[in-house]
Symmetry: C2
Subunit: 436 residues, 2 copies
């Protein structure tokens, strides 16, 4: 049994895409020009906006979407020679347009449009959705935490609560949304995100001896190796004693203390008073332990300098997947849509614009037919939301960097009407109007 | 920006493990004999049991846990030469005992015990927890779906709703718990799980022409390529018309029809009547679309032959992570535990046994000190729960195969008291008693 760590991404795919391919190659429909669209029918319950994330990871994965012999062997079990030959030669040669990574989205936003032959578009469904649904869910939750934190530092430390390879992607999505650092070293390596982390309770417990706990020995050791700027974890035994010991060992220039348990608001106030009384007025307070956006917001009046967020971040704070779908919307220039109950889709290739007031506050999203002009706007600024991402199978030049996408999220949050930033359950911050 | 697909798993780690390592190497405590324990303080809200999963994936990942130059470069940014040299030479040489993969677990069950030097144990924390927390969350949700399905076929099709590399691991966990097949081709390749999948709405829509829909053309094409045993998706337009067309094209020997929308119970009954009236009495009915264990149970009285389960499976049906922690419990033979509020741990290396009646029904889990004998039991059968997994850094021979673990889950579900199988929220099915 081997771990799924091949570079090729082509088997990160549902079998039905390749059975459809086989039938379409056999009957000649595989070559028809198609448009597929990624959109979310709705936001997760109560959410007021979503954040598009994963686009850059998707383009990387697309470049590795190829079928060599190990992949073809799997497909051969249920497919025919014609299909295998087609897959052997396959690279995606179509066009992709989409929302910039870091753009806000709303119900029905045409987040991605994939155009090409049916064959080359249909095989990408699962890969596209897996990446966008995961990363957008995390970024959307993270953005709420960022706005709740009101400018204080946020450290992502949720790796242990999610799949080991989802962890670096989660760290990236959190950073994109405005988090400052991650505990995950693979995210540091892959994406250049600042790393963070000093010690766990185990380090203090390691230094307990047969004559009892030696918290001071653990702190001394940590400072000797990591320097005075480090963060000492003070709640292994008694927090007040831990703080006293920390300053006794480190002096008032200690970088930070971390509290990982108890009523964090009460603790933060007590610890701040104690630190100040000890002259450690610049020693920062880091809190962690089951924080979500609500707990972060509840601590805004407290002397907390930094939040460590784990579980709630990597599970999307109640919405672990973004619910985006990938639907065929146009065949040979004609709009198509299914008509079964509760799952209507809107046919036709689309574009979208967002209207904002002169102040920058957004007011509405308009979804149009591709090529259709937006109605003239007197009072509002009109901004196109889709940009070219792939042309003839190749990523276009000058796609947004992670830093630019992070800046875009920050600008997006500022552009929301004030109700859009409320953490309470509510309607989407702006309406989506379909004009096509 | 590269995708995180290196074979080495050593950076799937939190930075603080390596800063603790650096300090422990500097002060000499790194060599102390330690025991770390994996356990869950509680089950997810309302859950009555958990299923241990991920053990085999963990042992695979452990074999790739090494620091070569690309990994060391990342560590060098915050670490010293001594630590880098230690990591360069590192392979885990300790012992691991644990619950068999597929074993049920309850609050406080000592699911894994990792013994070795502090240095070699501390660096494994994140990797161990990521894998066990993810896979156990999925398997635990899947087991509830399996018991709700009452022996009918379950197909995992959730890849698009989770991280692209979490998807095959989810498929594996679902299969372990008793699912019959997966849509995910990487899971077929990596783990040998049976694949499934035929077509999506896009295939029907592809065959619509300028003179209207040609559902019959799509069905005919699919049958020509995939054979009469295939599953036709009948709800793209009108379900009754779709079923009529399907049997018209395929004849009464059609393998199955799939319904993906509408009130599935009502639809299944109508479709069954229609199929029977058309003489297609052996044509099976597959349902899909936002199914979870409750929806599966609600369909038990309906003529459904097979369930396709997506989102709810891969997000753990409300509990996307298992909440397991990795705690230092013993140093140089002495139990250690932190004492901060709300997060007490129990010190000491442990073993566990499960008591069952002669009927096979389990009644209690006893957690003991390592080496401590279980109290004599007149009325109950006593079974040891931990087995050796790793000795001297190497996996032991004859670890349970995926098939054996799958069989163990099935036996575990049968062993639960009847209340333990209820889907409603409740207490753990059996109590855990700590005797150590």
């Amino acid at each position: 049994m081997s771990t799924p760590l091949r570079a090729a991404t082509s088997l990160l795919t549902d079998q039905y895409e390749l059975t459809m391919l086989a039938a379409a190659l056999a009957d000649g429909s595989a070559a028809r020009d198609c448009s597929f669209e990624v959109f979310a029918r709705r936001l997760p319950p109560g959410r007021r906006y979503g954040v598009v994330a994963g686009t850059a990871r998707l383009l990387d994965a697309l470049a590795e979407f190829r079928f060599a012999e190990p992949e073809l062997e799997v497909v051969a079990a249920f497919s025919d020679e014609r299909t295998l030959n087609w897959l052997r030669e396959f690279t995606f040669g179509g066009d992709i347009d989409g929302y910039r990574e870091g753009e806000l989205y709303f119900p029905g936003s045409p987040i991605l449009t994939v155009r090409g032959s049916f064959a080359e578009c249909v095989v990408l469904e699962t890969l596209i959705l897996s990446i966008l649904n995961h990363d957008s869910a995390i970024a959307s939750a993270a953005a709420r935490m960022v706005s709740a934190a009101g400018g204080r530092q946020l450290i992502e430390m949720g790796s242990r609560r999610t799949h080991e390879l989802a962890a670096p992607a989660s760290a990236r999505a959190a950073y994109l949304a405005g988090f400052d650092a991650t505990s995950n070293l693979e995210a540091v390596r892959s994406f250049g995100i600042p790393g963070a982390g000093t010690s766990a309770h185990a380090f203090t417990l390691l230094h307990s001896g047969s004559d009892g706990a030696h918290e001071a020995a653990a702190f001394r050791s940590q400072i000797e190796t990591l320097g005075l700027g480090t963060t000492l974890l003070v709640d292994t035994y008694d927090i007040a004693q831990g703080v006293a010991t920390a300053i006794e060992v480190a002096g008032p220039e200690l970088g930070a203390v971390r509290i990982d348990s108890g009523d964090l608001g009460v603790m933060a106030r007590q610890v701040r008073e104690q630190l100040d009384a000890l002259g450690a007025v610049r020693t920062r307070i880091v809190v962690s332990g089951d924080l979500d956006e609500y707990a972060i917001a509840a601590l805004r009046a407290e002397p907390v300098d930094s939040y460590g967020v784990g579980t709630a971040l990597v599970v999307g704070s109640g919405a672990p997947t973004a619910g985006m779908v990938y639907k065929l919307v146009e065949v040979q220039g004609r709009p198509v849509a299914k008509r079964s109950s509760h799952k209507e889709s809107r046919g036709g290739t689309k574009r979208a614009v967002r209207l904002s007031r002169r102040s920058g506050t957004i007011v509405e999203e308009l979804v149009l037919r591709a090529g259709q002009d937006a109605p003239a706007q007197e009072a509002f600024t009109v901004r196109d939301l889709q940009i070219p991402l792939v042309r003839g199978g190749k990523p276009v030049a000058d796609l947004p960097t992670l830093a630019q996408s992070r800046e875009l999220v920050a600008r997006g949050l500022i552009s929301l009407p004030w109700e859009g930033l409320k953490l309470s359950a509510g309607e989407p911050a702006i309406p989506t109007t379909f004009l096509q």
